[in-house]
Amino acid sequence: MVVDTGGGPNVMIGSINGRGGRGGRPSRYSAFDLLRRGLLGSSWPRAWRVHDQRDSYDVVIVGGGVHGLATAYYLARNHGIHNVAVLDKGYLGSGGSGRNTAILRSNYLTPEGVRFYDRSLELYRHLAADLNFNVMFSRRGHLTLAHNDSSLRTMRWRAEVNKLGGVDSEVIDPGEIAKLVPYLDTSAATRYPILGALYHPPGGIIRHDAVVWGYARAADALGVHLHQQTEVTGIDVDAGRVRGVRTSRGPIFAPVVVNCTAGWSSIVSDMAGVATPVQTFPLQAAVTEPVRPFLHAVVVSGTLHVYVSQTDRGELVFGASVDPFTSYSMRGSLEFVEGLATHILELMPALSKMRLLRQWSGLCDMTPDYSPIMGTTPVEGFYLDVGWGTYGFKAGPVSGEAMAEAIATQATPEIIASFGLGRFARGELVGEKGAAAVGH
């Protein structure tokens, strides 16, 4: 039995209280709920419902990752727009949202970037309470190592811009780094000795899948329809405005269509006739066996093109730079693991006996300036939330909030004003390469 509330005015905005059980709105998670269900042996209700696909919605969001789901949630919660559908060709979070290395930070280089990512971090801080879902945000401290003078200069630049934006970042020396990360080789005997680091205490890690599921559950409770295994095969544009989409499960009329498909975004943008500067590169990652906790902070090295963190379960998660050529393949490669191992052992020689359990990759929609593309396009009603490259997961909440505002008010919010598609034609790029990725 499926209860279709239709997202009408009797849905409580901001609350997900309701009945549990078959087909009703999910019950509120709590310690009491956990105890009760555990003792009674009763099964848990579905986290979100399965609806029939309607033939029209007010807003269709293409892409069911953190960006698409957050946009749907904030449309419903902040603006009372509930007649929304999120479509994903696979399962929710099957793209970048399920493949990233789950690091949160706001220590960016430009004032626009700092303001933007810090708003996201602020939303992440109380996300578990807002969504009534444990997203496991663990504030660990984030270190970006500098191995040469120009790198150290960039760290000082970032620290100053961060401080002006009210973000806690400072440059620390090798002695202080060694105290924070005992296993790091901070001696002068390495090929690229560590000269200092940008230390950002508010940074940390999170359970990326939980963020996707939390937003999905909360959006569903507010009446949003989530349609998995539904591929958009075309976008109907008439006289310069969007009319709707064609999907593998039938057509949908919609005056607003939002592209939240990251690595696949060029395919969807092409359907609407919108050209973008996006290029899709694979980004690989790998994880080791779980060991006892020894690494508290997140450690990043731009020079060595590698970063590492330890999950709450004890596994080390490694990331590096994107593959050096475009591809839509999500397979890992041996040359990646070889390069990664070489660089991480430069940093932490003690890891040499650790066993790598698996590697994978996701698709990154890279832009020329390593900043996203958000807002309107020359096609009326067609919005972009793309160009997220290797820095998209941390921006999920602020992007959803801003895109929802852009759609609901039909005006571009100040916080994303510099990220419009038109900046490339005007030559007004927002250069964040140094702070966004560990690229070559």
Binding site: F325, T326, Y328, S329
Partner: protein, 83 residues
């Protein structure tokens, strides 16, 4: 490891090459507007499938070469021209 067919050296590992990018016609800098030039600089087709592109064989013959590659399977074949 993906291998690419260099027209002079034969099939070699991808790490021997540097990726240059999609082959696109270059407008005449003397007659284009800044907007048209930026479109050439930044806009990309980014296809999921066949793409015409150029590479540089940095660890081999050190020549520019053109390939037609499938961006999903990464199968590639040489194509006439350098870029």
């Amino acid at each position: 490891m993906i291998q690419l067919p260099c027209p002079w050296c034969g099939l070699r590992n991808v790490v021997e090459f540097r990726y240059v990018g999609e082959s696109r016609p270059r407008p005449d800098p003397a007659t284009t507007t800044p907007e048209q030039w930026r479109e050439h600089l930044y806009i990309r087709a980014n296809p999921r499938g066949q793409v015409l592109e150029s590479w540089y064989h940095s660890a081999g013959c050190r020549r520019y070469l053109r390939l037609q590659r499938d961006t999903v399977s990464n199968q590639a074949r040489p194509v006439e021209g350098a870029e």
